[in-house]
């Protein structure tokens, strides 16, 4: 599984990074996240900033120009998410710009695409991703049903963990059709029979539970690929792109920890001069380097629709999870007493590491999948 796709950033990609970083650092420094958190913001993200990001082409990164998109591609989304990860910036990139856009472009009827895609590209419309039904991520664990009727579908079921669930104008809901296959359905927030329960999570990420009790949607609400692969494709993209966000957070925690090791003095010297800490820091930097490589490889493979993309996506999520957990835990420990207070930001990253861990599957889930795809 060596790849012929480059693992370096192109100049264009560096420009996208520069643009994303400038925006994120200016408009969503970590104080932005703290402010939303302390305000108990039910939305969990700033729609105003999202429209700004749309202005830079990020909301429509995967949307062709004819629907108002910028067509920047999946690697651009990974770059944006990595930069968002550095400040825990809450944006609609993952669920809306990546997952909803992919689902619509690949699986939507023409009229649906014409109606929805421009509103996503412009930053007007934000969607939640509603697939999981149990405690843990599972690809096939869908018992929500979509019964076809003369003028559309009726949905019954419960979704336990909906990404961007408090912020969304509509939801991308996975459901089993009468034929037994899993398709996705666009469900507006205001639908009758839809009950939304916000989840106050430890990392203050926007999430909710959904109960669908006879929710009726139009015929055009179904999103589906002929090969039936839309859901797995979305989950792969979700896993790899979340891994990119986690990588950005990991790099930030590590940078902060490194700075602290150089600054904090104990016993008359910087604590970064203690060999035990130096070795642990060096070991972490290796883990991060490996994670960088696999995340980029996965995103490039997904973008290229390569056959090894699913395995690389799983490898990336498994790797990013373990690395983020390690670096965040070490970040707290190395910050000492300060690390466990709410005053410094390390704890915010630590909590984020643990929620991101399970979303789209934890490391064990992805190792299992990696093995299965490897035929063993």
């Amino acid at each position: 599984m060596a790849t012929t796709r480059t693992l370096l950033w192109s100049e264009d990609e560096e420009l996208i990074r520069r643009s994303a970083r400038d925006l994120v650092q200016a408009r969503m420094p970590i104080s932005h996240f703290r402010a939303l958190r302390d305000a108990g913001s039910a939305i969990g993200m700033s729609r105003e900033v999202w429209r700004e990001m749309a202005g830079l082409g990020f909301a429509g990164a995967l949307i062709p120009e004819r629907w108002g998109g910028a067509g920047l591609g999946l690697v651009a989304c990974a770059i944006v998410l990595e930069e968002c990860g550095r400040t825990l910036a809450p944006t609609a990139t993952l669920a809306t710009a990546v997952l909803a856009a992919t689902a619509l472009v690949e699986g939507g009827a023409d009229a649906t695409r014409d109606a929805e895609l421009p509103r996503i590209a412009s930053g007007e419309s934000v969607l939640g991703f509603a697939h999981d039904e149990g405690l843990h991520h599972a690809r096939d664990g869908v018992s929500t049903r979509a019964a076809a009727g003369a003028d559309g579908f009726t949905l019954h079921g419960e979704k336990s963990f909906v990404l961007d669930g408090t912020a969304a104008d509509a939801f991308l809901v996975s459901a089993r059709t009468d034929a037994g296959r899993i398709d996705l359905f666009l469900v507006p927030r205001t639908s009758r029979g839809l009950r939304i329960t916000p989840l106050a999570l430890v990392d203050h990420r926007s999430a909710a539970r959904l109960a669908l009790e006879g929710v009726r949607v139009a015929k055009g609400a179904v999103l589906s690929r002929k090969d039936g692969a839309l859901l797995p494709r979305l989950c792969d993209r979700g896993a790899a792109l979340l891994a990119a966000e986690m990588l950005g957070s990991t790099e930030e925690v590590f940078a902060r920890t490194l700075a602290w090791l150089k600054e904090r003095r104990q016993f008359g010297v910087p604590i970064g001069s203690f060999q035990a800490l130096r070795h642990r820091a060096a070991a972490m930097s290796c883990e991060i380097e490996l994670t960088r490589s696999i995340v980029l490889a996965a995103v490039r493979a997904l973008e290229a629709d390569a056959t090894d993309a699913p395995a690389l996506a799983s490898a990336a999520k498994a790797r990013a999870t373990d690395t983020f957990l390690l670096v965040a835990a070490e970040g707290i420990q190395m910050h000492g007493g300060l690390g466990v207070t709410d005053e410094v930001d390390i704890g915010l990253f630590y909590k984020r590491a643990w929620t991101s861990r399970g979303i789209f599957g934890d490391a064990a889930f992805h190792r299992d999948r990696f093995a299965r795809l490897g035929g063993y």
Partner: protein, 404 residues
């Protein structure tokens, strides 16, 4: 032989007496462990009894001197020898009687006063501790001096019969609830850092003392920052010689480490076992095995390590009883106990999936929310009371004799 015989007879007589008294005086409600740390009675001027039973139980025990059974009677104890005290402990355990009073003053300050205090200090401070009237907190850590405790910079400058104290303490547990603080201060800034430190008792009601609670990643916490601004403390509140503070502090720290590791271990025992939780969250196969074999292996690993840890603690307790002092072995216990504890808490939330990531709200059960807070709280266990790194240093130096 006849000495041992008469000793045995004396102890059995005491056992009968204690048993009868406890049967008669321990309220039924006090014959079960407290439901939480907060439900225990920790004493102090601001303390309120949770129940009438709690008040009665304390008062009756205080009257017999049995809150501090081995202390001499003149300090509020019962003057029991170690053997008799153990009999009392056994009899209390027999009926499940909880401790009537939990007290940092009793566990940590009292041994210091017995060894290093003056007769006046003992008479002033020990009886209110035994009666649960005064609650103490410990003022060691400072923001600028984490693991390097001895680099503390809170100053106590002599001014006639008083010390004037300026500086800041951090991680003072329950400083907001305590009446007094025993703390380390720098009385001589010119001496090498370990030498200029003294052990001082400070009344928290003194003008110039300000306390601010600390918010942790797990939410509200018992920890505080304590600020001293020109606080005047009578010179008679100095324990031991000026400059002897570091020696006193070191003795205390070994006790603290042992206390932390045991406390943790005791505490986790009452939680729902990981395997039961896992069966509930991920299911089981026909033979009752947790359905996810990789998770099951990790649970077995943590349970197995926890078992080893409990046995190692038992071993060191036995060794102590057999006459050895709590030495650097307590560093091993602290290190391992906290690391196991962290692993267990992590596994607990991981097993619960997104339900193990709740912060607040009705979407989660109280048990779920508690496991999350406990997990976050556990991150501090390898930092407080001497970081894991410091414990490793101590083990390397004192147990293994490695240079450096």
């Amino acid at each position: 032989m006849s000495d041992a015989g008469s000793d045995h007879a004396r102890l059995e007589a005491f056992r009968a007496e204690a048993r009868a008294w406890l049967e008669a005086h321990c309220p039924p409600a006090m014959r079960a462990p407290a439901e939480s740390d907060e439900a225990e009675f920790w004493g102090g001027r601001r303390a309120a009894f949770e129940s009438e039973a709690q008040r009665a139980w304390l008062e009756r025990m205080v009257e017999r001197g049995w809150t501090a059974p081995t202390w001499p009677r003149e300090y509020g104890g019962a003057g029991l020898d170690a053997a008799a005290a153990r009999v009392l402990e056994e009899e209390m355990r027999r009926i499940g009687a909880r401790a009537p009073l939990k007290s940092l003053g009793m566990w940590m300050l009292a041994p210091i006063l017995f060894e290093h205090g003056t007769e006046e200090q003992r008479r002033e401070h020990l009886p209110p501790i035994a009666r649960g009237e005064i609650r103490w907190c410990q003022g060691y850590s400072e923001p600028g001096a984490g693991s390097d405790l001895a680099s503390l910079s809170t100053r106590a400058v002599r001014d006639g019969e008083m010390f004037v104290v300026d500086g800041q303490k951090i991680w003072t547990s329950h400083a907001d609830l305590a009446d007094w603080m025993f703390c380390l201060v720098r009385t001589d800034p010119d001496l090498p850092k370990h030498k200029g430190i003294s052990f001082l008792l400070i009344d928290m009601a003194s003008p110039g003392v300000r306390v601010r609670p600390i918010r942790l990643i797990s939410g509200a916490s018992p920890f505080c920052e304590t600020f001293f601004t020109a606080v005047r403390v009578p010179a008679r509140n100095l324990v031991g010689q000026a400059g002897a503070g570091w020696t006193i502090a070191k003795a205390l720290l070994a006790h603290e480490r042992a206390a932390i590791s045991r406390l943790r271990d005791g505490a986790v025992q009452e939680e729902e076992p990981l395997e039961v939780l896992a069966r509930r969250c991920v299911g089981a196969d026909a033979e009752g095995r947790i359905a996810d074999p990789v998770l099951r292996d990790r649970i077995a690993q943590v349970n197995l390590d926890a078992l080893c840890n409990r046995l190692a603690l038992q071993r060191s307790t036995e060794a102590e009883r057999a006459g050895r002092e709590p030495g650097p072995g307590s560093s091993m216990a602290k290190l391992y106990g906290t690391e196991i504890n962290k692993r267990r808490k992590e596994l607990r939330v991981a097993i619960q999936g997104w339900r193990g990531m709740g912060w607040e709200g009705d979407a989660f059960t109280p048990d779920e929310l508690k496991s999350v807070r406990d997990w976050l709280r556990s991150r501090a266990s390898s930092i407080e009371g001497g970081t894991s790194e410091i414990q490793l240093d101590i083990i390397a130096k004192r147990v293994l004799g490695l240079p450096g």
